[in-house]
């Protein structure tokens, strides 16, 4: 049976549902730009919820990320953050965290310095903004109050003992406790299932009772990130009221609840703000005729064509399919854009995994002009309607530099601003 192609007309098509894609959607919504967001599943489920700007450079912990990105102009001049005004990056972060807070996932605002936040291994991660549910963890790491870290029987990869064993050296009153999640009898406990169950107030009461009786003299408790899915701030507040304790969440191993929260809240709220959402579908092809940019894709109901006036490519790297590693070279599969990369596969990785210099393959990616328009091999722009954002961009190492969200949010901001100027021209 032939299915009719459905057509969507929009001002801005956003390809990619990772951090850069949802940030671009938020910026488009705020500017009254009509948009369509599409792309395959995306790597959002792998986020901890922390929003890094720049946490490490040359193997050193960065205290002031604003100074850090200014320094990139000399130490890593091609870095996507190197050429951006710190004030504009701050504006991007503030706008994005406010947006998320408004739609239901509270976030701290960007401060002058990096925060020091918990990891599930009991190490410390530098980051710029954290979900409101994790804010008291940052404060606890600083002030070291009497604190119990709770784990749950059956929750793999999260050990309260591990966290306290590695932090107790300077924090004598830190205690581990492993408890049974209310209603969970045997076997594996899935964080996502537990999070959804805590949306029910009866379950919160049961959990609060256990926490209160097990917390001993602690005034503050840390739990794995599973306190609610759609209204985590309200779940946390209720648990604090019921227990009389300060509570914070600690990220779990990905894929994790904070990532699901972001994805679900975006999917729930943005369509009401006028954004077309075609989730979990891979764009098959993009063409650039005179009148509009055309994206071909399909969902269960048949083919879809998006006709857009402009497009942001936020397709991510290897994990999300924005880049592909062939036997001997790296490609950008959707448009065939030239990819900045090492000469040979020999040079992709250092010999030692944890070499502090990082691996050259992570610096591979798309080259753009100052307006984030991808360049062809002759140095000219591919099309004036095509912009690119996020970690698909070259010359940054989001993993080692802890700059993934920073690159995503700041470049999405600039790309949408540039698209906005083009659209209103």
């Amino acid at each position: 049976m032939d299915q009719e192609t459905r057509s969507i007309e929009t001002e801005l098509a956003i390809v990619g549902t990772g951090m850069a894609g949802i940030a671009a959607s938020a910026f488009a919504v705020n500017r009254g730009i009509s948009s369509a967001l599409t792309g395959n599943t995306g790597a959002l489920a792998y986020t901890t919820g922390y929003l890094d700007l720049l946490g490490f450079h040359d193997g050193h912990f960065i205290k002031d990320p604003w100074e850090g990105i200014t320094d990139l102009a000399t130490t890593a001049p091609g870095h996507p953050l190197a050429t951006l005004e710190p004030d504009r990056v701050r504006a991007a972060f503030t706008e994005f965290t406010s947006f998320l807070s408004d739609i239901g996932i509270g976030y701290t605002n960007p401060g002058p310095n990096n925060l020091r936040a918990f990891t599930p291994a009991g190490t410390i991660k530098p980051t710029l903004c954290v979900p409101a549910t994790m804010a008291k963890g940052v404060e606890a790491l600083r002030s070291k109050p009497s604190c119990t870290i709770f784990g749950f029987h059956g929750l793999k990869g999260f050990s309260a003992n591990q966290i306290t064993s590695n932090l107790r050296e300077n924090w004598g009153s830190l205690t581990p406790k492993t408890i049974t999640f209310p209603g969970h009898n045997r076997g594996e406990l899935y964080a996502e299932v537990a999070a959804r169950s805590l949306e029910v107030s009866e379950n919160r009461k049961l959990l609060a009772q256990i926490l209160k009786s097990e917390a001993g003299l602690s005034t503050c408790i840390g739990l794995p990130a599973l306190l609610g899915m759609h209204a985590p701030d309200a779940v946390l507040e209720d648990l604090e009221t019921l227990t009389g304790l300060d509570i914070f969440e600690i990220p779990t191993m990905p894929p994790s609840v904070p990532g699901f929260r972001l994805r679900e809240i975006i999917e729930q709220t943005l369509p009401a703000k006028g954004m077309h959402l075609i989730p979990q579908q891979r764009v098959k092809s993009i063409s650039f005729p005179q009148d509009d940019v055309r994206l071909q894709l399909a969902d269960n109901f048949g083919p879809i064509e998006i006709k857009a006036q402009s497009i942001v490519l936020a397709t991510g790297r290897f994990l999300s399919g924005g880049l592909e590693a062939r036997f001997d070279h790296i490609t950008e599969p959707l448009l065939g854009l030239p990819v900045h990369q090492p000469d040979s596969r020999r040079d992709w990785y250092q010999h030692e995994y944890l070499d502090s210099r990082g691996h050259a393959v992570h610096l591979a990616g798309i080259n753009t002009d100052a307006q984030l328009r991808p360049l062809q091999s002759d140095g000219t722009i591919f099309d004036e309607r095509l912009f690119s954002a996020g970690i698909v961009l070259a010359h940054q190492d989001w993993i080692r530099q802890r700059c993934g969200a920073g690159v995503a949010i700041a470049t999405a901001y600039e790309a949408v601003e540039a698209a906005h100027r083009l659209l209103r021209r």
Binding site: T119, G157, N170, M253, W348
Partner: protein, 527 residues
Amino acid sequence: MATFETEVLIIGGGVTGAGIMRDLALRGIHCILVEKRDLCAGASGGNHGLLHSGSRYVSNDIQSARECRSEGAILKKTAAQCIEETGGLFVSVTGDDEEFGHRFPEYCRSTQIDCEEISIAESRTMEPMLSPDLVKIYQVPDATVDPFRLALQNVAHATALNNSRYIPHCEILLFETADNTVTSAICRNSQSGQSITIKAHQFVNAGGGWAMNIAAMAGCDDVSLLWSKGTLLVSHDRLTARVINRLRPPSDGDILVPGGTVSILGTTSVRTENIDDVRPTVEEVNENVLQGMAMMPILATTRYIRAFSRVRPLVQSAGQDDDRSVARSFSLFDHHHVRTNFCTITGGKLTTFRLMAEKTADLVAARLGNDEPCTTHTTVLPDAQGCQWTEPGASPRYCYTSKDPDDMILCECEMVPQSAITQVLSSSPGAGQDMNLESIALRTRAGKGSCQGSFCGIRITSYLYDTGFYKDIQGLYHMRDFFNERFKGMRSVIWGQQMAQMELAEALHCGLLGLENLDNHSEKGKE
């Protein structure tokens, strides 16, 4: 400083050392086996896992061919749990030396190895992935063997027989001698730093590639080795039911061996002087793929999850240029002019390890005045606790039958449950507090799947903190070292889906957990 006494100290925990330990224990002789790293750390663990029918050597090394034929038959009876009787094919493609192909059945006949010609049509039903350009196909009785399980069970059996002891992470620093005998070995435990003195009546050097250096430490200069580095690739999926050999004189990338759920392609062969830090290179990986795709085109596009290299010792004699033409047979040095209670066994191959152990144990037993005969050719190798988890099917089978929801699966690629980890830590050979993730990975399938341990390394570590095995930052160091070690085998095969896998792993290990900055961890804790 700890002191141990035994009748025989065996140095080197390869499959030969493990085999000697069991052979001697069966004769009622107590032994201690020491190993610088852990079981099968050298060539024993770095090969195809091919139980040779002997046909590979019929054209250039008749003695090895015969030894393989008879030893293969013995092991299929006595160590069946470590062996899969896959059968093997020799295949030639257009352009291969046709003369060699024609002579092959005659070679096999002269060494009494079964060899049957198969039609091209029939071979396609047997192995659909074979090249469309086949010329000749012969079927031979090749099989596969799991060297890790083999070594573990030999050690476990020896321990069960007479309390013979295996000590991993135990490096020989020097030998103490008196007149023309060795009296004791001074060792160091590389995990704890503890010094260990081992007194023995007899000393056996089963150091494989390191045998020359160990012999020299005892004052014996008559062992002269060359080293050949080989690199092999592990595919994500099993590509064939049988062993596939290229029907040509031995060369690069010409054997593909199934190993449970994967296939192993190799090898390259180059001379090396470096025996302690051998790693696969991108060039060696490319060469294997390039050569292998002639007989199996799918090797060009298949997903590889790992490569590994090993150094094979070749006992030197004059005038050999090509390492593949050096006889694969083993050498037993009795060193009787220099040390009357010290001997060295080296060379040889996995398939003939039992024979090597027998000849060595015969010498040692005679020197001890023990006249019990060797019984390893008839005594069936029993199963033992903590040794069965290296088999790909063992963990899933256990999980399906035990039906214990609380026994959670920590390695999701290979379905390794908590109880397997607990059992390995408590009762497998080498069990104890100085085990780490690498010890666990050697004794189970953890880390052998597509994620190569990047997820289960984290889950197992968390589990071990919860059980109290780890109490401080040691668990994080072990986790970091494990990922470093796994990476050595991944680096040269990272493309395609493995690139996405690797990107996620590094995001987790560095981006989230900060393992590359662990040395500054406590300093940061103080702020």
